[in-house]
């Protein structure tokens, strides 16, 4: 019975942790993407002939900004499907 309570507690806190990992990661990525996109539009308005070159850089930088979010999603899935914290119970 005590083990069940412990298991439920670990699962509950893991759920909160997963929410925080994904939520804060998405927040950071959104802020970064917003800043970069506004800079891209600014640059494109000043020098429209630079759009093709800027576009490639923006594509790669979007990937870099999202890297932390994607890694966070991977970690969250690890905690959801193969939670290492549950090994304490066994």
């Amino acid at each position: 019975m005590e083990n069940m309570a412990l298991l439920a507690q670990i699962q509950a806190f893991t759920g909160i942790g997963i929410g925080l990992i994904i939520g804060l990661g998405a927040l950071g990525a959104c802020i970064g993407i917003g800043i970069m996109c506004s800079s891209f539009l600014d640059g494109a308005a000043r020098q429209p002939e630079m759009i093709p070159v800027l576009q490639g850089k923006v594509f790669l930088l979007l990937g870099l900004i999202d890297a932390s979010f994607i890694i966070g999603v991977g970690l969250a899935m690890m905690f959801a499907f193969a939670n290492p914290l549950l090994s304490v119970i066994h």
């Binding site: 996109c37 891209f40 308005a45 576009q55 490639g56 994607i70 999603v73 193969a82």
Partner: protein
């Protein structure tokens, strides 16, 4: 009358030049994104295979397979994003931005779906190896920045 004809000729020539510039710009964009993705993908494959080898040495065959699955899920996600950009027509700044955001959304969806499938279906998974391979592959994708604006093809 002659002035009007001259004006029309100049106007049509200007339109032609604009059209040619637009086509040139589309081609330039495709080459730039293709170059950037090619370079990024090369580095991603190198890093993924290196990590796979390291995990094989220190963690066994399951860790190596997990690592390579993580690395290639990021690679396939990036390729899906490039496929989304490839067929767009709008060359305005807003159109380009919307296409890029759609590509990024596709990339995240594809990576998440692959990770979900791997976690659900692969029984011998080593989670830390998967995350390690994924993180290394995603972080090294910025290496393609060196190819943008570079004349080498």
């Amino acid at each position: 009358m002659a002035d009007r004809i001259n004006d029309n000729v100049v106007y049509s020539e200007t339109l032609e030049v604009q059209e040619v510039n637009k086509i040139k710009s589309v081609d330039e964009t495709k080459i730039t994104i293709k170059q950037a993705f090619k370079k990024a993908a090369t580095w991603q494959i190198i890093v993924t295979v290196s990590f796979c080898f390291l995990y094989f040495l220190f963690g066994g065959i399951n860790a190596a397979i997990s690592s390579i699955l993580g690395g290639f899920s990021a690679l396939l996600g990036g390729y899906a994003g490039v496929l989304m950009i490839r067929n767009r027509v709008d060359q305005s700044a807003g159109g380009v931005l919307i296409a890029l955001l759609k590509a990024e959304l596709t990339k995240i969806m594809v990576i998440s779906l692959q990770l979900l499938l791997i976690f659900k279906l692969y029984n011998g998974l080593v989670p830390m190896a998967l995350i390690g391979g994924l993180a290394a592959s995603v972080l090294v994708s910025g290496a393609g920045l060196g190819a943008v604006g570079n004349n080498k093809k």
